[in-house]
Structure formats: structure tokens, C-alpha cells
């Protein structure tokens, strides 16, 4: 179990005060914070892990780490969308402000197990944030992997994250990047494809044999996974990152439990075949609709 390899303090809930060194707006409601942990903290994380990010007097929430795990200065980046009590003030932080972190937590994307394989990264919306460290790590160790293809869907052109980087990744990392948007509002211009991210499957070059990950809103992951299964990708080659309510981040509080699985500790990254036959009870059994996945009460589907 990976988990808490970062700051080991006697109190696992004690956050560390960190300085914001840059705050760059990505979209109208999303900001990427670059954060400098104090020099004494030996900061290590793996792609796919998250931190519990907090502001005193406001609250704490799990946020994926979006930066390069091998950043020479040990800087940490979080891409945060303003949706509530904590995330709104987080997106207004300025360089020099303090933000509190504890972590890293969770099971990462198993990059080592993916060596010498082709990679297909299917992402939607904010789901690109926890996949960015995969792109950066695999891009730097490019010779260890086969072909890399990134599919990314956003609601509108204005909702695209890391917009300038997307083209640079394609060039510098010798990977295929395909981007689509759901819709183009009249005040925006877009020359690329329009439609949900799974429409990009028609054009993609990745074939069964590649390792595929899906990361984004649950409904998007449902269609992404089903599409890949239909194209003959085996469940054992499919990976997802799940998002649930979290209070502790390391398997104690029970908030993120899906049946016997705790998303914070056993995930957030799961191989699809690990979830086969697991029983979860939720009002919206989104992933339960995908063949060979978790099970749940059919009655809940009435909602």
C-alpha cells in the first residue's frame, strides 16, 4: 500500500502550512495553484494521488495532485474548481498566501505495471487534472512506453484545462492528443471536433492491447468504459479514478466507502476488473450500468 509516504508526523490530521507561489486561471471557475511545501518536508507523490487541502476556519477537501512528480523544486500543483465553501476561496488565493496540505493519500495509477504498453488516456472536464502527472511522468520516461494517446473532452472551448500545454505535449512527448468539446457557445471559436469524448473513439488509433484509463465525471466514465469494452479492451486493462466524499483520506472515517471498498485508501485508482461484482448501494448506480462492473440494487435505478 502506498498511501502516506509524504509527511510523517505523529498526528495524521495535522496539515502543513505551505506558500502559494503562483495562481493561474484555467477557465472562468478553475485555477491552478502552484504550492511550495516547506523545505524541511520531503515531498514525494505518485501520479493519481491526492492531498487533503484546507484553509483554517473554512474547511478541508480532497484535491488531486496535478503536477510533475519529479518537479526539481518539489513544487506541488492543484487545479481547483470553485464549487463550494472551500473551493471558492481556494480559487481566489494569490501568490504569498498560505494554504494547508496533508498527504499524499491514495493508490496511484500503476505506471510501473504499464511499462512497454501503449497508453490510452480518456479524460473529461476536471478529470484531466489527476492524469496530467501521468502525461508528464510517462512523457519524461517516453522510451518506457509504446504509443501514447490522450483523448480529452470539455463542455466548451472555454472550459479546456492546460490549453497551451495540450499541443506542447503532443509535440514534446511524441503523443497523440485529440480534443473535443460538447458545445460551442456563440461567443467562442473552435475548429476542432464537437461531441462527447467517446466520439473520439472513431478516430483514435489505440487498439485492444493498450492500457486505457478513464477519468472524469462518472457518467462520462460509464460511456468511456462501455465503449472500450465494446471495442474488445479487456476489463483487466481498464483503469478508473473514483471520487467520493472524504473526511480523513486514509480509511478511517467511512465516508468514501463503496461496499467493502474505501475509495481514499483502496483507490481512488481502481482496475475495472477489481470492481467486478462488488456491491455498492447508491441512489444513482452510474457505473453499475457498465458490463462486468460493480453491482447494486436495481430499485435504485428508478430515480
Amino acid at each position: 500500500m502506498t498511501g502516506c509516504s509524504g509527511w510523517v508526523t505523529p498526528n495524521p490530521y495535522q496539515p502543513v502550512a505551505c506558500r502559494v507561489v503562483a495562481a493561474v486561471p484555467e477557465t472562468s471557475d478553475t485555477v491552478t495553484l502552484t504550492i511550495a511545501p516547506p523545505p524541511a518536508t520531503a515531498w514525494r507523490f505518485q501520479p493519481g494521488q491526492f492531498n487533503m487541502v484546507s484553509l483554517y476556519g473554512v474547511g478541508e477537501a480532497p484535491i488531486s495532485i496535478a503536477s510533475d512528480p519529479a518537479d526539481p523544486e518539489g513544487l506541488v500543483q492543484h487545479t481547483v474548481r470553485a464549487v463550494g465553501r472551500l473551493t471558492r476561496p481556494l480559487t481566489t488565493l494569490r501568490p504569498g498566501d498560505t494554504v494547508w496540505l496533508r498527504g499524499p493519500y491514495g493508490r496511484p495509477w500503476p505506471l510501473d505495471a504499464w511499462r512497454s504498453r501503449d497508453l490510452l488516456l480518456v479524460t473529461g472536464g476536471l478529470g484531466l487534472a489527476p492524469v496530467r502527472p501521468v502525461v508528464l511522468a510517462a512523457g519524461r520516461a517516453r522510451h518506457l512506453f509504446g504509443r501514447i494517446e490522450l483523448l480529452y473532452g470539455a463542455r466548451t472551448p472555454g472550459d479546456l484545462l492546460y490549453r497551451d500545454a495540450l499541443q506542447e505535449w503532443a509535440r514534446v512527448f511524441d503523443m497523440t492528443v485529440r480534443v473535443t468539446v460538447d458545445a460551442v457557445p456563440p461567443d467562442q471559436v473552435w475548429a476542432g471536433p464537437v461531441g462527447v469524448v467517446t466520439r473520439l473513439y472513431e478516430a483514435m488509433t489505440s487498439r485492444p492491447g493498450a492500457v486505457a484509463l478513464a477519468c472524469g465525471p462518472e457518467l462520462m466514465m460509464r460511456f468511456a468504459l462501455q465503449g472500450l469494452l465494446d471495442r474488445g479492451f479487456p476489463a483487466s486493462d481498464l483503469y478508473v479514478s473514483l471520487e467520493r466524499r472524504m473526511e480523513c483520506g486514509f480509511g478511517h472515517c467511512g465516508r468514501c466507502a463503496l461496499g467493502p471498498v474505501k475509495v481514499c485508501r483502496d483507490g481512488p485508482v481502481f482496475c475495472w476488473d477489481e470492481l467486478a461484482g462488488r456491491v455498492w448501494v447508491e441512489d444513482q448506480p452510474v457505473l453499475q450500468a457498465v458490463g462486468g462492473g460493480p453491482r447494486g440494487p436495481a430499485a435504485a435505478r428508478r430515480t
Partner: protein, 382 residues
Amino acid sequence: MPPRLLATDEVEALFQALRRRGPVFGPAAGLDSGARPPPAGRLTPLRYAPLERACDAVLAPAAFGYPAKRLWFRPSVTLAAARRAVPASGPGPWEPGPPPAGAAPPLNPDPARPFAVWGVRGCDLAALERLDAVLMTGPVTDPEYAARRRAGTVVAFTCTQAGPACFCTATGGSPVPAGGCDLVVTPLAGGPGGNGAREYLVEPRSARGEALVEEVGGRPAGRAAVAAAAAVIGSVRAALPRSLNGRLRPENAAQKAARRLDSPAWDELAGRCLGCAACSLTCPTCPCFDVVERVSATADAGWRERRWTSCLVPDFGRLASHNARARRENRLKHWLLHKLAPAEKVTGGLTCVGCGRCSTWCPAGLGLRAALESLEGEGGLP
């Protein structure tokens, strides 16, 4: 060390030996000072309180009282705190600092302070094993809980009477406390009532327990005493149910209930459940908690508190985008499946230890076995 036989006054001496080391908590009747008395005719649960004499412990079936878990797993604890100066020019930056007076006690305030818990039942002891699985066996150990587990001496008592709601044997448990304690005490029949035994068979289960028994003496238990204890245990066992509900055994309960998730019986159960969480707050195995952000009225102190919660309260599964279990029947299903599965896959049996508290204290007359009965009634569990 083989079991010893202690007379009533020697048991009292054992209790006092523990008191010389630190406070001794045991099940007691009565209210906390300042608490409002219940309406006439309503009972309040027994609660673990510091006792002065062994004979003050009310050794009733577990379901009559709150669980012992609150002595290790505190209902509210301050996890982290910070302060800042707030001059007229505006608030300064937060600096880690102590929580203000009046906040819940901080995480792990005094890990070394020894205490003892007297009269713990086999079910509460099995429940501690379940809590250990959650709070001490993952990648992170809860320092507060672990320190209290080390500091606390546990004197467990064999049940001499099956309570009306008891079903430990149907969950893989036993009226005889298993491991994870320091001493197991079995009151021998002969005195007036189970509690009024004149002789007690005492079995040390740890070095700490052995040292205590050495201190008070007693005599080696002969074959007659061991047989008398076995007779007491046998009669309690005979009065306890062997299965959860008809055909449901610990090994198959979770799978069978999972096959009934579409039963209309859930709608009926959901119609009765109030979502009040009384079942979780009296459950010895429920470990779930909230982390609550607090800030002082003058905005100069901020702190985070851990507080017990329940998967049956409506907000438990709320996310920024939606509530994963807004529907009460789904919260009940989530709860029941967890109670029927082993805790963190490491403990044997179910997470439920069969103490019967949920059915005793639910204001709507529900509880784990009532839920299983409704499912059974509707066509029988497969």
C-alpha cells in the same frame, strides 16, 4: 497462568489494585450531572462512568447500556488547531496553536494515562477488535485510539444471563470474552442472581492481567470451579439464538442479503426509519465520523473536530455534485450490508457483534434483526 478462583472480597481487591493505577470505568446507572432526566416510564442506557467499588458496576446485558467504545474512540476530538492575531488592520496569518478552552480535547492529549474498564462484555470486546481493524491496521494508525488501547486495562466479564435482545452467537461470537483483554472474569453460580456470585473464576489473558492476579492472590481454580464456570456458560449459550434469522449464518448473511436489495421490504423499512442515528450511536462497532471545521466567535482561533456520525443521516453521502444516498432505503441497505460483512475483511464473522443495542434503542422498533425479519417475511431470504 492457569485460572484462579477469587472470593468477592478478593475481586474488590482486584478492583482497588486497578484504581491505584488510574480511574476504573464500569457500567453505571444514573445520569451525567446536569443531564435532563428522561420522561417518566422511559429508561436511559447504562453508561461507563468512573466507579469506586466493584459492586457499583451494573453487570446487565450489554444492550441495556451505551457501548464501551467511547472510552477508546472518543465521540468528539480536536484534530488540529490554529490561531491568528486579529488587529484592527485585519486578521493575520494562521499559525498552528492550541485549541481554545471549550473545544473538544485535542487528539491524544495524554497517551500514557492508565485507566481500566471493568465489566466489558464479550460483544463489546469483539467490537473493539472491529474498531482496531479500522483505526489501527491500515496505512495510518489513529494515534489517539492506539494510545488509549495501550493505556487501557480491560477486565471482561463472561455473561451469566442472555439478554432479551442478545444474539452474539449468531454473529460468530460467544458469551465468553475472547482475546484482546487483560482478564476474563466468570461469576460462578451459587450466590443470589448472576451478579451476586460469591466466587469468581479469573483467567489472565496478558502479562498485565497476570501481574494483577499475582497482586491479589486467590487460589488455583480446581476442577469443580472450572466445571461450574462451564455450566454457567452452557446455560447462557442454550438461551442464545444460533442463527441471525432462520437460515442466515455469519458465513452467508452478507451474500444472501445482497441478493435481496430489490425487495419491496426496504420501502416499508425506510418508511419507519427516522434517520435519527440512535442505532449507530449505541453500536459498539460503528467507526464513522465527520470532520467539522470550527472557528471562534472572534475569528482568532480555528480548529477541526472529529465527531461520531452515522451512515443513516441524510448528509452522510453528500458531494459537491449530488447526494450519493439521499434515499433512506439506500442508506439502510448500505448500513445493513456493512454490518453483515467482516470489518475491513480482517476480522472473522460479521461486523455486527450481536449486542442487540440497535433493536433496544431504536425509537421506531427497527434494528438489524428486525430489518432481516422484514426481508425474510417478504418471500424469504434466498
